[in-house]
């Protein structure tokens, strides 16, 4: 197959506008796309973004449903739900969720939400959608790799999904899959075939993330349109750029750790295993170190939480500036703080390991570095608040979610300061305090960033609006619900209530929280139902939503709003526009907004 036909005509579009020297031969076919090449094996970044988003949504429903199931157990440990037995059989014998099932549910909930929804679904969607549109490129550096990135994600999804139907159940040693538990099939059913599926699926997922990340980085650095210097890029692109750098440098290390774990599981090696007796059987493994796995895992695992959060940071900045009709406050400080977070992300992994017997002297350094993250985080919060300050606020659904994000980022971030201290962590480690912390700051906050993104760019994706009334219901119930669910968990966590137990009713110290737990479970169900309402709104609006009539419905400056309402493959029908200014000229010289493509006027004031 020749070079040019391999890359299809989408790539030719890129080549024709960017690197004439590289390809002497040009094919400009404008044939009708078939259903398969348009919707399935598409190389158009916008279609790939939609594929990531919708796959992510399916996973979010599955992962969310799992949390409803285990919340049912936690809230009503003494009740029996016969319907569960009808559906899940032996996993819910007598209408109660069995212990093995409970662990499988929490493990899969974590895996699905962290990787499949908030990594692939969030950065996969918005990196693909926004990078070419906002930097002024016809497509990604390599549309082919971009397509492969989605299909590796799809393959990972298929493998992970099929692991749910294995007789011995899916992986159930927690999403962090610590050995020795995860390495020894004889220890628990959840470490049998399900664990191998988990590892193979994650290997595919890592390949997908790497292919995507490579593409994001090289597209941002090499394919910006004329005039789009790095410091004129919208903050979304900066955030996605640092996210991709984190992913490309940290995911391979997880792959290393996973490969060694596969060796230990299947080839009888002793990387992580040493002197273990399981069910009376003495294992031959000697000299391994389970702590080694934790180092390798958290070297990815910590950057991973920023991989999840940073795209949200970028989108919130963009949405907030557009809807405050004000320039983002401290653009360079925003970029600098993203950079600082990116660097610090690699230097704090051992704060997940304070109670593993880590040398306390070493721990002190990790405490210091961890607490340093408060500095760039505080800069960001300050800049968001000052962007809002005396702004001409438009409370669109996207804006509400952006403001909600800041609220969650503050309240979840503050508890990070507690947990980052190794002395306090001795008490708080593995309690509900941790659950509350990371769900608010990483889980719900990133979801809010994602919702802000979906509500803001839906008109660009589908040429229609989402329904505002449903959106407002979605926002308020989710916002209030998130606090009602996770705020009380801080109290039980401070009281020392450990996570990962199915039933606390026999535990005298934690009996007092039974009512609270029931309350949390009820709210969780309501919040889950409202997410289904959002999905209804999403799919209904794709076909029946109010049509977008103007190319720039939000009055925004960035380049994606200079394309037609439904941009074709290649994004701009004519030449790619040239950029003359940064992305945040709002409310300048008496004008509401000035698009990036407008040349700087002679009498214009400096920004």
């Amino acid at each position: 197959m020749s070079e040019s036909s391999l890359h299809g005509h989408g790539h030719e579009g890129v080549v024709s506008s960017h690197t004439h020297e590289a390809h002497d031969v040009h094919h400009h076919h404008h044939h009708e796309e078939s259903f398969i090449s348009k919707y399935v094996f598409s190389q158009d970044h916008k279609m790939i973004a939609k594929q990531f988003l919708i796959t992510g949504m399916i996973w979010a429903v599955i992962g969310g449903l799992f949390s409803v199931l285990f919340r049912l157990q936690l809230g009503y440990p003494d009740m029996s739900f016969p319907i569960l037995e009808d559906i899940f059989g032996k996993w819910a014998a007598g209408g109660r969720i069995s212990n093995d099932f409970y662990y499988a549910l929490v493990t899969m909930h974590g895996t699905i939400l962290v990787f499949f929804v908030l990594t692939a679904g969030l950065s996969g969607t918005f990196a693909n959608l926004l990078i070419p549109l906002q930097i002024g490129a016809r497509d990604m550096a390599s549309p082919m790799l971009n397509m492969l990135s989605y299909w590796f994600f799809f393959l990972a999804s298929i493998i992970m999904f099929s692991s749910l139907f294995i007789q011995t159940g899916p992986a159930s040693g927690g999403w962090t899959i610590y050995p020795p538990l995860s390495a020894l099939g004889q220890a628990t059913d959840g470490s049998k075939l399900g664990m191998d599926f988990w590892l193979v699926s994650m290997a595919m997922f890592i390949v997908s993330s790497l292919l995507g990340g490579l593409n994001y980085i090289s597209t941002i650095l090499n394919m910006r349109t004329k005039g789009m210097s790095m410091t004129r890029m919208p903050l979304t692109i900066w955030a996605i750029f640092f996210t991709a750098v984190l992913g490309v440098l940290s995911f391979p290390v997880l792959l290393s750790g996973a490969i060694l774990l596969l060796f230990d599981r299947n080839l009888g090696t002793s990387f992580y295993l040493s002197e273990i007796v399981v069910k009376g059987e003495i294992l031959p493994n000697e000299g391994g170190s389970p702590i080694l796995f934790q180092h390798l895992f958290w070297f990815l695992g910590h950057p991973e939480v920023y991989i999840i959060l940073m795209p949200a940071l970028g989108m919130v900045s963009e949405v907030m500036s557009v809807n405050s009709r004000k320039p983002i406050f401290g653009y360079l400080a925003m970029v600098g703080s993203l950079f600082a977070i990116c660097i610090l992300a690699f230097l704090v992994w051992a704060h997940h390991m304070f109670v593993t017997g880590l040398n306390p002297f070493l721990g002190a350094f990790f405490v210091l570095l961890t607490l340093l993250i408060a500095v760039p985080s505080a800069i960001k919060v300050f800049n968001w608040l000052t962007t809002l300050w005396r702004g001409n606020l438009r409370f669109t659904p996207a804006m509400l979610f952006a403001i909600g994000f800041v609220s969650l980022f503050i309240s979840g971030g503050l508890t990070g300061i507690f947990l980052g201290n190794s002395t306090l962590d001795l008490h708080l480690h593995d309690t509900y305090f941790v659950v509350a912390h990371f769900h608010i700051v990483m889980g719900v906050a990133s979801f809010f960033g994602m919702f802000a993104g979906v509500y803001h760019w839906f008109p660009k994706m589908y040429g229609r609006y989402l329904n505002n009334n449903l959106a407002y219901i979605h926002f308020w119930v989710t916002m209030i619900g998130a606090y009602l669910i996770f705020w009380p968990m801080h109290y039980s966590g401070l009281a020392g209530m450990p996570r990962r137990y199915t039933d606390y009713s026999n535990w005298h110290s934690f009996n007092q929280f039974a009512g609270m737990s029931r309350f949390i479970s009820s709210v969780a169900m309501v919040v889950f139902a409202v997410q289904l309402l959002f999905l209804f709104n999403f799919f209904y609006s794709i076909w029946k939503g109010r049509k977008v009539t103007s190319t720039n419905p939000w009055g925004a400056n960035t380049l994606e709003w200079t394309t037609p309402v439904n941009p074709g493959h290649g994004n701009w029908p004519g030449e790619i526009p040239e950029v003359h200014r940064w992305a945040y000229d709002y409310g300048k010289d008496g004008r509401e907004y000035i698009s990036q493509i407008e040349p700087v006027g002679a009498n214009e004031s400096k920004h």
């Binding site: 690197t19 650095l221 440098l249 290393s256 009888g268």
Partner: protein, 191 residues
């Protein structure tokens, strides 16, 4: 527009850049593995490893292949296509020879009564297998890439004058070569 082009022309081709970032990513994977090795080495029950003599020859083969791939690239730029084809095939063969020698080298361990995996294996040798095995997989990928561009050069149907694919493959090939030299020195020093 002419100005745009001249600006764009100075930039590195996206595919080449893509390869450099990918190399950075692969480096991180091996950095992870070799630092795990160092951590593990300082703990109890570590067996000194002995590296098969054959690995010296495989090292020689892969260094030689770096020379041939460079000659292939030069021949392509000089539009000396027959020589380019020759050198690409030569490189692919040297790559295959490297892989075969690595394989035989690992087979020799069983003769030396050293277990790489399973009961009685020591983590040091398992590391050697895992790390060198992963490296071999990367070399295999390179051999496949060389074969693909070799076949493409043979086919009379497509004429391609862009040196980008050749440059990308040769960059990768030099990288797996240097990576092996690093690993080889690493294993020799960090027994």
């Amino acid at each position: 527009m002419a100005e745009v082009m001249s600006v764009q022309r100075k930039r590195i081709h996206p595919h080449k850049f893509l390869m450099w970032v990918a190399i950075g990513s692969i480096i991180m994977m091996f950095a992870g593995l070799t630092s795990a090795y160092i951590v593990k080495r300082s703990q109890v029950n570590w067996q000194m490893i002995e590296i098969p003599k054959l690995f010296w020859f495989s090292t020689l083969a892969i260094i030689l292949s770096s020379v041939t791939v460079q000659l292939a690239l030069k021949a392509f730029r000089d539009r000396n296509i027959p020589r380019y084809k020759q050198m690409i095939i030569f490189t692919a063969i040297l790559g295959a020879v490297f892989l075969v020698m690595q394989f035989i080298g690992f087979m020799q361990f069983s003769k030396m009564d050293i277990r790489l995996i399973g009961a009685g294996s020591n983590a040091s040798y398992s590391f050697l297998l895992a790390i060198a095995g992963l490296h071999a997989l990367h070399v295999l990928g390179g051999v496949i890439a060389l074969t693909v561009i070799g076949i493409r050069a043979m086919s009379s149907r497509s004429k391609n004058y862009s040196s980008v694919p050749v440059e990308v493959v040769s960059t990768y090939w030099h990288f797996v070569d240097i990576l092996w030299i690093y690993l080889f020195l690493f294993f020799n020093w960090m027994k």
